[in-house]
Amino acid sequence: MDRPLRLITSNPVDRLARTVEALLVVASQPLSVEELAAAADDDSERVETALGLLRERYREGRSGIVVEHVAGGWAFRAAREAAESCGRLFERPVERGLSAAALETLAVVAYLGPCTRPEIARLRGVAADSVVAGLLERGLIAEAGRGHDAGGAVRYRVTPLFERVFGLESLSALPRLDDLDGGEVDLRARLEAVAERRPA
């Protein structure tokens, strides 16, 4: 009974919000509500309330700092209106020049991961070694143990940085594979257009 009372008087949500601000500005990756609560030595519900205040204060159009829910946690980023200025000062080497092969490999690992290099190669029809090495170096994928098969090949998963770069709250924010049409609609439309132009 004592604890909540003490918290309410000596530690109003406003103060907790300041603590969360401080944690977010020093953190090097998104922090989950649980991580924030543990560091602030407070309970998750109150942290959620504090985050509500911060979302109001740090949002596009109102502040140059924006708080966002990404990669399973909360993080500060620059407001979009400052993108040009940020671009003049900072590179985005992680995502610069991701090839079509790299994007396909990321898609395989994101949807089917953790998976091994041979599995990626089988799906894409070409060897995946150099592409996987490149993605590892960029920190977009990481090793996730070994497979259960005899060879025990290394398995890979996408990293929180992948979710952050692509602005995903979590992997469940990816579109469902079943919803992707594989381009059949476009193919059919083009064929139909040809058929219509053909003299009967």
Partner: protein, 250 residues
């Protein structure tokens, strides 16, 4: 219209169809990189522009495209041709269709990611620690101070001596001569090594000489010899010289 002259403009290749086939057969072009559907569409579009159906041309095209598709399918499933061989024709076709559909969806997903990347290009965030972030602290559980004493005792323990009992010669410990020479130098500032060890056995003289070298090494004595095989003069080291010697060794 010659099928071979059909001009292609694909991601992986630009030029006439027969050159593409040549490159694929010479393994200079990866069949997996060739978009066969695009070739079929281009052919059908050219055909439509002509306004008449040339069955010979169509037949030739079908044969060439079928060959290309077979090469491509073999390339895609090279390591698993065994699996597919076990299936009857209908099952194999079904399996191929299933895998191709899976790959198409992955390609769609990749396209979605590419689009997303473009849209998120304006989201800048910091990767890595903040400039003024506290540095991670390593914490250590409470330790027992007796561990320190134990570590000290193990450092002070005499190293296991090599057993010489199996040898006829008996060597006295070097420390015996270290103590003896140190005592000597507290009474006298210098002495003559040769006369000091003259009455000792050869092995004892050898150990005494080792002790002398030790004392020289740690800077406690200075040695002088007028000529080879002349008597060795041992003197207390000058304190200043001693410090220089330690500095050099450090």
């Amino acid at each position: 219209m010659e099928v071979g002259e059909l001009e292609l403009d694909l991601d992986a290749f630009e030029g006439p169809f027969d050159l593409l086939l040549t490159l694929v057969l010479k393994q200079e072009l990866e069949p997996a990189d060739v978009d066969v559907a695009e070739i079929v569409l281009l052919f059908v579009e050219r055909l439509a522009e002509r306004g008449e159906l040339d069955l010979d041309v169509c037949g030739e095209f079908l044969v060439l495209v079928a060959a290309l598709l077979e090469l491509k399918a073999r390339g895609l499933f090279a390591d698993e041709s065994g699996d597919l061989d076990d299936l009857d024709a209908e099952e194999a076709a079904e399996e191929l269709a299933r895998r191709l559909a899976e790959y198409r969806r992955i390609r769609e997903a990749a396209a979605w990611l590419a689009e997303r990347l473009g849209a998120e290009g304006g989201r800048f965030f910091r990767v890595g620690p903040a400039p003024l972030a506290p540095s991670p602290e390593r914490r250590l559980a409470r330790q027992d101070a007796e561990q320190l004493a134990a570590a000290m005792r193990s450092l002070a323990a005499e190293p296991a001596a090599l057993s010489l009992s199996h040898m006829a010669l008996q060597f006295p410990p070097v420390s015996q001569f270290l103590d003896r020479f140190r005592a000597l130098l507290t009474r006298r500032s210098r002495f003559d090594f040769d006369s000091e060890v003259a009455r000792l056995s050869r092995p004892e003289q050898a150990v005494a000489f080792l002790a002398l070298l030790e004392l020289r090494k740690v800077g406690e004595v200075a040695l002088a010899q007028a000529a080879p095989f002349a008597a060795i003069r041992v003197a207390r080291a000058d304190p200043l010289e001693e410090r220089e010697w330690i500095a050099r060794s450090a």
